[in-house]
């Protein structure tokens, strides 16, 4: 068996940030990646900050006071929006990867047809779900209090 070759990553970051001539799913892929990494960065810090509850009321209050103010509130809102998108799009990805909503396999006869059109309603459904979650979060965080 031949060794796998090391291929240079010629497109670099643009390779996954840009949609190129691919459809909207390509942008969903980039957004899923950005939101996943953003959520991870937040989560690692969140574990450390919220562990202050183990030391009682005073330490908890000190920790929470350190992360209040408009900038932190806006950051928290971005985390919520990232969650809404990543969760809804994650459901779509898991379904597709398990073989749901991709349509029946067809003969590869010219002119070739892509299964992306069959998958499109799921992508629109995922975005609609994300939008509903964002609407609830926006109302709850900015309007109701």
């Amino acid at each position: 068996m031949s060794d796998t070759k090391h291929h240079p990553n010629r497109l670099g970051l643009w390779g996954w940030l840009g949609g190129g001539r691919w459809g909207m799913e390509r942008y969903l892929y980039a957004l899923h990646r950005v939101t996943g990494l953003g959520l991870l960065a937040y989560f690692l810090l969140h574990i450390v900050v919220t562990s202050s509850r183990a030391f009682g009321a005073d330490r908890w209050k000190t920790a929470m006071d350190a992360v209040t103010g408009p900038l932190f509130k806006f950051g928290e809102y971005l985390v919520f929006v990232a969650f809404a998108f990543h969760a809804a799009n994650g459901i779509r990805l898991a379904l597709l990867e398990l073989g749901f909503a991709v349509g029946e396999p067809i003969e590869p006869v010219y002119p070739y047809r892509t299964s992306v059109h069959v998958q499109r309603p799921l992508a629109i459904g995922a975005l609609a779900l994300a939008a509903v979650l964002v609407a609830i979060g926006t109302a709850s965080m900015w309007l109701v209090d």
């Binding site: 090391h6 291929h7 240079p8 990553n9 990646r33 996943g36 990494l37 959520l39 991870l40 989560f43 690692l44 574990i47 450390v48 919220t50 562990s51 509850r53 183990a54 009682g56 009321a57 908890w60 209050k61 929470m64 928290e76 919520f80 969650f83 969760a87 994650g90 459901i91 898991a94 990867e97 398990l98 609830i136 979060g137 109302a139 709850s140 965080m141 309007l143 109701v144 209090d145």
Partner: protein, 137 residues
């Protein structure tokens, strides 16, 4: 199943666990103004019934009330483990996909394991310590 296939399957399964538990967490913290579920912020309803003002989900009274429940002790640790695995495995995959040299590939994987296990141990300790403290108060 080869190792990567297994880990990927766990990545997807962890996503399902996170969906439920983080969904509950987001309902508690960021949607409570619209979706009112009393059990999620146990001290809020009691405070309002006694004529007190509105409590925030992160006010100590709510944090203490949740910390004292076995349900939160168990689900927080489960969410901690699932999200650490899902997030760190996902992040290492992003790096691996860029085809880095072998040493970088290995360093990133090792770093993910160390950070993951370290934060899991720390977070689990914090959940247990908060549970014992809240019970004692």
């Amino acid at each position: 199943m080869i190792r990567d296939q297994k880990l990927w399957t766990w990545h997807i399964l962890a996503g399902a666990v996170i969906l439920v538990l983080l969904g509950l967490h987001m309902l508690t913290m960021h949607m409570e103004g619209v979706v009112k579920l009393e059990g999620l912020n146990p001290a809020s309803a009691a405070n309002e019934a006694q004529g007190g003002g509105k409590l925030q989900p992160i006010d100590w009274a709510n944090v203490k009330a949740r910390s004292a429940k076995v349900f939160y002790l168990v689900t927080y640790i489960l969410l901690l483990g699932a999200a650490l695995f899902h997030g760190l495995y996902g992040a290492t995959n992003v790096v691996h996909e860029a085809n880095p040299p072998r040493w970088l590939h290995k360093t990133v994987s090792a770093l993910a394991v160390v950070v993951g296990l370290g934060l899991f141990a720390f977070g689990t300790w914090a959940a247990i310590a908060a549970f014992l403290l809240a019970k004692a108060l």
